[in-house]
Amino acid sequence: MAMCYECVNTFIDKPVNQLVVMLSIVIALLLLGLFLILRKQLRNAEKLGLLYSFVFFMVFPFAYYLYARTCQKILLSCQMAQSLVSSGVVAIVVTILLSFVVVPFIYMLSSRSKSITQENVLFRKMERHARKMGIKTPSVYLLDKAEPYAFSISHIHPSIFLTMGIVELLKPKELDAVLLHELAHIQQKSSPLKFTNTLFRLFTPISNFNILYSELNEEEKDADAVAVRMQNTERHLLSAKQKVSEYQKQAAI
């Protein structure tokens, strides 16, 4: 412990190190400030870029400290800590990238999912709606689960996933409302934002400030608004939500 304390002091004593750390923290706070001020005007990709840059500059001082030459020269234990942390950081980054890319394919290739083909009425509905919205028709998958829900993935291979439960539970126009809602998410490219929110909640205290909560809420409202606008009524969407909520209440008993 005393040796680590000495290592930290030696690190901080150097003006170059002080400058790097302070500059990194200032840049991080500037980026966070930019995000908070400009969030309404920015697109999702720009918001994510600012957030990930903020995280990078917050983490950079610690990485810089661990790789500092002074520490390496003085203490073997610091070197060991460096190996542990660097391999840990690499593992986390690889896991994040892989899950961002791999998770959609896991759903698609799961034995409990079935690709809905072009002959099916559901796919043809999806195609009509996508054409009206001016987006490429995503793939549609049916999940063999009785619980009614739907979600979409907008990156890598845009797809909509519907459970058997929701297909069975809802009337045609209610299901249309759900499809339109999910298509809107694909149009907005929402899934990187949701994925980032999940990561932040897992790895950082940023989630305590609900930094992405209002963005995600806005996305949901915007997607609802698209469904209501395309159907010229909110009746079907509300009815769909009520039925799903009713199922969840029954399932919880």
């Binding site: 009785a146 439960g165 297909v167 199922y247």
Partner: protein
């Protein structure tokens, strides 16, 4: 080879039993079919039937398959075993439970009650 039902039928609620009875009668049915029959006898929600069928499926008391239909897709449920097999399994489990709980007292009772005539 006939599949024997998993854990028992013990612990089934009255509505679950009614649903199973219906499936034994019809051999296969969709959620809507069961709902249409049961709503004539009692106040029941479509979602309740869907939830209970899913629970029966998790307990491996019913099987289900996906069928393409006019609106898209539907689950078709069927009983996982014949009624007699199910009843035998319930009985077997009940007796095993009694023996586990009461040990020699239970076995002595069964001997006395059902013992072979000498």
């Amino acid at each position: 080879m006939k599949k024997s039902p998993q854990k028992l039928g013990s612990g089934l609620g009255p509505l679950e039993k009614e649903i199973l009875e219906l499936l034994w009668q019809k051999q296969q049915a969709k959620v809507r079919d069961i709902y249409d029959v049961l709503k004539k006898k009692r106040k029941v929600a479509h979602t309740s039937i869907a939830v209970l069928l899913d629970r029966l499926h998790e307990r491996k008391l019913v099987k289900r398959s996906i069928e393409t239909c006019r609106g898209g897709y539907r689950y078709v449920y069927s009983p996982a075993s014949e009624k007699e097999d199910y009843q035998k399994a319930v009985l077997r489990n009940s007796v095993d439970n009694l023996i586990e709980r009461f040990g020699n007292i239970a076995t002595a009772y069964f001997d006395e009650r059902f013992g072979k005539k000498r």
